[in-house]
Symmetry: C2
Subunit: 433 residues, 2 copies
């Protein structure tokens, strides 16, 4: 059979990795796919010193979508603007698309998939979540027999690197962030990573394919890791927990929880032991129970691994009846559910509270009564010695599971107590059984 | 579209689970697959008290393969004899097959896939390895862009339960085995589990789809966990390792290593922390690096999860051109490689050696010279106090990586020393980076 011709748009880290993997493993990939996959064109403004593209014609990005010889457009430029234009143009021209662009899919995916359906083409996006881990495929196909109950993921490597360093070496957030920037793990503007926006993009995609709801990035709750102190990391450790920046999606009777925030996880859970820049996603289904998928969440070749797997999938599916393909969002487009995404105030979680008490025994009684009046049960209490510099006594509580609105209300009451100094630190706790 | 009609053959644990999951999640599954999946017939000798099959016709197993209404035959009876006859008959009749039968695939898969290809039907077998973990799909499709370097799996839950109990509670192998049998984790004849035959079946399948070689169960090396002592478990722990019963497949220039045996793994590896009956498989690819896939490796509904996912896959692919489907063994049948499976004597590994010395300082010098004469480097040495009852001094060595033949030769020389009592205990060590 004739080789399939692909055009790679964007020759940065992932584009360069994709080019190199397709070249290096060409024979192995053809043995699997049953036909060759040829990089027939590259759309890029500049070359990549790590790629030998001397045999491949290079043009501007949008021209690739117009090249009649190209079967599959691989969008690896990132961002919402040109990437969106490129993808829509490629679809309009009847080309299949492979993309690693989580922001594009999370924000414009509904529109993109509708257009792709109209044109009978595939838009594949495995590389958009958790790099080389085939998590989209696992949820969309591998667990297709299940009703997914929840999923929880460490899906931002930069954030996990920072939390790992804070825990293992007692370093501060700011200190590690600077190193991460120097190492190239974090951007000069780290907002997307440390405020959980990047993770929320990925979580939005995972939740859609797990629960069969449209992409609703604007409804995801996002809380970053910038406020975490080494004290909290250490108290969590003493209580038998680790703090991870988790993307969490859960289906309840009332609706779907969709939230990214620092989370205490029991230290003996596998996911609590995922360290450094590595990613992992747990998925809990009614038949399979809990599963975990682990690997490199970013990087030149790990992400390329997912891009190339998508290309092979497209090569196999492109000759099939569009109605029998795996639906973009795992569920048939006319079978998506309107189960609502819950506001964070209606989400349920257990909580870690750190209260700075001026007068420990008295405050404990008041705090306990604030919680008990609201029907919030205390799981455990830890009191530490006064910190020398301010004489305040840190009081750490773990609560049972409760609706967020109630804990917010309780915290407001605690912060109104005369014996409590400053803000109460609140971190959610998940058991992830 | 008309529902797809499946026949479930075998209504034991997995068959019952498959029946129940298909019923309970019928709506969710149809929302994904785009059409209903109906259990139109059951082939079984007896009913399953955990299934309400009152609405479903029950017949003898082989009749299901002859029922012209059935599109997909689900083989869940196990064993080689009737299962093989059923699968071949179903294929002959142009039916697609889903099976959870690792022994059947590992031993007769080449013949079965050849026949399926001739008839243009699919034989899906995700449930045959690691229960609910979609590991076949991950390797065959999700990592299709990679040259797989190696894979390593905890793929027998019974064995892992025994090793976990030995380590966590200091219990003996025999003691835990009896409990596992009482709990139903282990068979009355536990040979398949504890001698590694079950794991070798699964490893054979994983190695074929990872490296693109025919199934060669007869060439897999198998070593059980029956000789492991709590002393070895504790020494390993003291050295920073855990002992797991690992299925290990590695591609080298010389050939493919295919081996199941107890293995020391650094305690901080994620896979070293997979406990109880849970399974996990690490896969290392040239682009993606190391990945890990974790979940329940057996049980009624976890295994059913994989069976049903296969059914959904078959429903999607059954209308497609057979040439464009995912090949049974991941690589096109005419592109399988004849890269040989290596005999265990030619496999490379690091080793843990436990030597019972009568006279410690003298023996150490002799042992060191035996190793050094054969070019085997010592990574570390641990000497323990004499055990009271026999006055023998346990001497534990970790070697660098070496070809097995050399270590066998060295062990033979050590066992010939006058100062060494009995056999040298030898356990392989893998770093699994």
């Amino acid at each position: 059979m004739k080789p399939v011709k692909v055009g790679i748009c964007g020759l940065g880290t992932v584009g360069g990795g994709t080019f190199n993997v397709l070249k290096r493993n060409a024979e192995e990939i053809a043995r699997r796919a049953g036909r060759g996959i040829e990089v027939a064109q590259i759309g890029a403004r500049s070359s990549n010193p790590r790629c030998d593209t001397s045999d491949t014609p290079v043009t501007s990005v949008l021209e690739v979508a117009d090249n009649p010889d190209i079967d599959i457009v691989i969008e690896l430029i990132g961002g919402y603007t040109v990437a969106r234009e490129l993808v829509m143009k490629a679809i309009d021209n009847g080309k299949h698309v492979v993309t690693a662009n989580k922001a594009l899919i999370a924000v414009h995916g509904n529109e993109i998939f509708a257009k792709a359906r109209e044109k009978g083409v595939i838009v594949a996006f495995e590389a958009s979540v958790a790099g080389g881990i085939p998590i989209i495929k696992a949820i969309r196909e591998g667990l297709a027999g299940n009703q997914i109950n929840w999923l929880a993921g460490i899906i931002n490597g930069t954030g996990n690197f920072i939390l790992t360093e804070m825990r293992e070496k007692g370093r501060t957030f700011d200190d590690v962030l600077k190193e991460a920037q120097a190492l190239g793990y974090a951007e000069a503007d780290p907002t997307f990573d440390v405020e959980g926006i990047d993770a929320a993009h990925k979580l939005t995609i995972l939740a859609s394919i797990a629960f069969g709801v449209p992409l609703q990035f604007d409804k995801a709750y996002t809380e970053g890791i910038t406020r975490l102190t080494t004290a909290d990391v250490n108290y969590a450790e003493a209580l038998g927990y680790r703090i991870k920046h988790l993307g969490m999606a859960r289906r309840t009777e009332a609706g779907i929880e969709l939230r990214v925030h620092p989370t205490l996880i029991p230290a003996d859970r596998l996911i609590a032991n995922v360290n450094g820049v590595m990613n992992a996603v747990m998925v809990n289904g009614d038949a399979v129970g809990s599963t975990l998928f682990y690997g490199a969440g970013a990087g030149m070749e790990p992400t390329a691994s997912a891009v190339v797997a998508d290309v092979v999938d497209v090569v196999r599916a492109m000759t099939s009846d569009p109605e029998n393909r795996v639906p973009h969002l795992a569920f048939q487009p006319d079978a998506l559910s309107d189960h609502p995404v819950l506001p964070i105030s209606a989400c349920a979680s257990a909580y870690y509270l750190r209260i700075q008490a001026k007068d420990h025994p008295g405050v404990l009684a008041q705090v306990a009564s604030i919680l008990s009046e609201r029907g919030i049960n205390i799981e455990s209490i830890m009191q530490k010695e006064a910190e020398e510099h301010d004489g305040l006594v840190p009081m750490i509580l773990l609560t049972h599971q409760v609706i967020e609105q109630k804990i917010d209300d309780a915290i407001a009451a605690m912060e109104g107590l005369e014996g409590v100094a400053g803000k109460v630190m609140r971190i959610r706790v998940e058991q992830l059984n």
